[in-house]
């Protein structure tokens, strides 16, 4: 017990500090290295002879900084300051990371760079060489890091240092916390800035209510028209279709998972719905192209290609299912048990309780789920491009039956951006950015509404 006495008062800096040999060595190597580097900067023989007489001020400054840093860190190590140790490990780690990245890129380029992967023997050889390369050039830094981590207990951290760390970390963390809102502001700033040309040149109302999309990048600037109404209608129609098909499915599944199904079914369904949420949208798109399109093409209507709003609605209905089901499920789950028990005790059937007590109590949460589903459907891009047909004309029914509207092709706002942004220039590109701004604020409004509803529910 008596041996632990000194370490219980770490703030007291005593004169007889036991400095491990390795730390002494590192401090010396570091300081000498810095001095050597500064010397190299100052007395390196330049190519031109006349430059010898006048050293540029920047070189001198750099040399001074290098020597200063070297001495500072060397002194910090010599006196066993903890901040020096942390800083050195951090800097060496970053340098090592940068270097390691380069090695990985090089090695992978050797292995995967060609037409085929190189044979297994080559792979082993290349990885071995890369490892050797890392070890050879990284030996000194690695030894430094190792030495510093092993001697941790010898370093002292004064109370003042600890307080400074404790306080300064606050600023770093609040900066991280504000990063999200900064990104949101940057998104608004940059998309609006890019959209400004179209807003002033074409006009907001012209773009929102114009029915003809004839971008200048294709047919020349003269007759260019940037009406987005067909895309807005396409987005709204596909979202509507997705809601009609998807809501009964997803809300039904939510009620099933919370109230009806036994526990083991829940255990099976839950991972399935999570997987549904994780599947890439291109896979849904591919499925729509390869399976749904030929099926829909069988509907005997003139000019029915299989690609169009119906296909898009089906795909979207499956894609929004996890979102809507999960949120609706949470809403139903948070209804107090007492409501259900009270109702059942009155002699109602389970279904009557669900319909007249549980669902009304969870109403705002369920509405929020539906609204978030709408937001998700409005923002979906790649899967829709693959199945909706992408015609820039206003969606219209294929014959007298108004329902064939859904067999017709269309294009959504999101799809329009993704299809054309890579080659658009000038006013065309600007108009695409405007549709991005439009989409952003549409979805912002939808999500805010959903948030307001959930908050109201939590408050009550």
């Amino acid at each position: 017990m008596t041996e632990q006495q000194p370490s219980s008062a770490p703030e007291v800096m005593t004169g007889d500090v036991r400095r491990p040999l390795i730390v002494t060595a590192i401090a010396l190597i570091w300081t000498l290295g810095a001095v050597a580097a500064a010397g190299l900067l100052l007395f390196r023989r330049p190519e031109e002879a006349d430059a010898v007489t006048t050293l540029p001020a920047t070189t001198v400054a750099a040399a001074v900084v290098v020597v200063g840093l070297g001495l500072l860190v060397g002194w910090g190590l010599w006196t066993l300051k903890n901040w020096t140790r942390t800083a050195m490990i951090g800097i060496l780690g970053l340098v090592g990371l940068y270097y390691g990245t380069l090695v990985v890129f090089d090695t992978f380029a050797q292995i995967f760079g060609g037409e085929h992967i190189v044979p297994l023997l080559e792979i082993l050889k290349n990885s071995g060489l890369a490892l050797l390369r890392v070890l050879a050039t990284g030996a000194v830094p690695l030894a430094l890091i190792y030495g510093l981590t092993r001697t941790e207990s010898h370093f002292r951290e004064t109370t003042r240092e600890r307080d400074v760390t404790n306080r300064s970390v606050w600023y770093v963390l609040i900066a991280a916390a504000l990063s999200a809102i900064i990104i949101v502001l940057l998104i608004i700033l940059f998309t609006s800035k890019e959209a400004w040309q179209a807003i002033t040149g074409v006009g907001i109302l012209e773009m929102i209510f114009g029915t003809i999309w004839r971008p200048g990048s294709i047919i020349g600037v003269e007759g260019a028209q940037y009406g987005m109404l067909p895309m807005i209608v396409g987005a709204l129609l596909s979202t509507f279709g997705a809601m009609v098909l998807g809501l009964p499915l997803s809300l039904g599944a939510a009620i099933l998972l919370t109230e009806v199904a036994p526990a083991w079914v829940r255990e099976l369904f839950q991972p399935a719905i999570e997987l549904l949420a994780g599947i890439p949208s291109v896979v849904y798109g591919l499925f729509g192209m390869v399976i749904l399109a030929p099926l829909i093409r069988k509907i005997p209507v003139q000019a029915n290609s299989g690609f169009g709003l119906l296909n898009a609605s089906i795909i979207l209905a499956i894609m929004i299912l996890p979102t809507v089901t999960n949120i609706a499920r949470d809403a139903i789950r948070t209804v107090p048990k007492a409501y259900k028990e009270g109702s059942l005790a009155l002699g109602t059937t389970h279904w009557q309780t669900i319909r007249q007590v549980i669902l009304p109590a969870a109403r705002s949460g369920i509405v929020a789920a539906v609204i978030l589903g709408i937001g998700r459907a409005l923002g979906e891009t790649m899967a829709l491009i693959m199945v909706i047909g992408n015609s820039i004309a206003m969606p219209r029914s294929l014959n007298d039956n108004p329902l064939t509207l859904f067999l017709g092709t269309a294009r959504t706002l999101t799809g329009n951006i993704a299809v054309e942004i890579n080659y658009a220039t000038g006013a065309h590109r600007s108009a695409l950015f405007f549709s991005g701004v439009l989409l952003f604020f549409m979805i912002l409004a939808v999500n805010s509404l959903a948030r307001y509803l959930t908050r109201e529910r939590l408050a009550s």
Partner: protein
């Protein structure tokens, strides 16, 4: 809304119940209604699962007919024929995941630490800070709802065009920066939940021993919350692997192997899209999609395992 609005349906049920006594046929009708309604719910649930099985099953079965060593080890040949394999797209996806997570993880976890450990105190200390924290939280919520094509547009305008000298235009770096913006809210939210689940007694115990707040966070709170944070990170990895729209407008789509962070590439999901829309090589697209689904399934397994382990730990702790 609870008391006032709810009393009505319950009262209605009571009235209905009273009428049941008088008319015994009503009870049978109620029971029948329940059977029909529950049947509909079962149908909805089974349809959802059937859709999942159909999609996953079809893509896996079709995909694995083209997947062989040759397909996995050859790079795409480019052009409209869609010949070749997918080797470089796997490596590019790996690069993207690593760089995006490297950029997003410190910021996301840092933000979560601030919002759980410091925000309440800070908000109590000053009105301005309280306001700022409120704004920061709103920012996270807004960011979580932004559709990916908007991140793509933003990344295109800022990273690809405006910062061309730094990022090299269409490149892994541009794509990772845009992707980091997308996963940031996911990491913040999941880390926040994980940190909140750490019992207060842990913090109090550490502080009582004389540790500073920062020491408490790094040495007590973060290790305890680690499994939950890792779950969120795996979730983010899944999102990056699955993402197409952002990378379609930021990474360039070159089928060659990227030679550095500033060179263009093509991740797996983008490869599926480009094969399906620009070539007729649907079977190759299916093969790539099958690998993609397999990756997501494995990631989901990891999430399930880690969250199960985590909830067991939390449960054990609170008891």
């Amino acid at each position: 809304m609870s008391g006032k609005e709810l009393s009505t349906p319950i009262a209605e049920v009571m009235m209905e119940d009273l009428t049941v006594r008088r008319d015994s046929g009503n009870l049978a009708r109620c029971k029948l209604g329940q059977v029909v309604a529950f049947g509909v719910f079962w149908l909805a649930g089974l349809l959802a699962v059937a859709a999942l099985l159909w999609i996953v099953g079809y893509v896996l079965v079709e995909g694995f007919q083209v997947i062989d060593i040759e397909f996995l080890t050859t790079r795409p040949r480019g052009g409209v024929s869609g010949e070749g394999g997918m080797s470089t797209t796997i490596v590019t996806t790996l690069y993207l995941v690593i760089f995006t997570m490297f950029l997003a993880t410190p910021i996301g976890v840092g933000a979560a630490i601030y919002l759980t450990e410091y925000a309440v105190d800070a908000a109590r200390r000053s009105k301005v800070l309280a306001r700022l924290i409120q704004i920061a939280r709103t920012g996270v919520e807004i960011l979580a709802g932004v559709p990916s094509i908007i991140y793509g547009l933003f990344g295109f305008a800022l990273f690809v065009v405006a910062m061309k000298n730094f990022t090299g235009g269409f490149s892994i770096l541009s794509a990772s920066l845009a992707g980091a913006c997308m996963v940031l809210p996911i990491i913040i939210r999941t880390s926040e939940e994980a940190l909140l689940a750490v019992p207060c007694s842990y913090r109090e115990g550490s502080l009582a021993l004389g540790a500073t707040k920062w020491q408490t966070i790094t040495q007590v709170v973060l290790p305890a919350a680690l499994p939950g944070i890792v779950t969120g990170l795996i979730l983010s990895v899944g999102r990056i692997v699955a993402e197409t729209a952002i990378f379609w407008v930021t990474i360039g789509g070159s089928y060659r192997l990227p030679t550095g962070v500033k060179s263009a590439g093509r991740p797996m999901a983008l490869h599926v899209y480009m094969l399906a829309t620009e070539t007729r090589a649907f079977e190759k697209a299916m093969g790539t999609a099958a690998i993609l689904i397999l990756t997501i399934v494995i990631l989901n397994l990891f999430i399930n395992l880690s969250s199960r382990y985590y909830s067991k730990q939390v449960m054990g702790r609170t008891q």
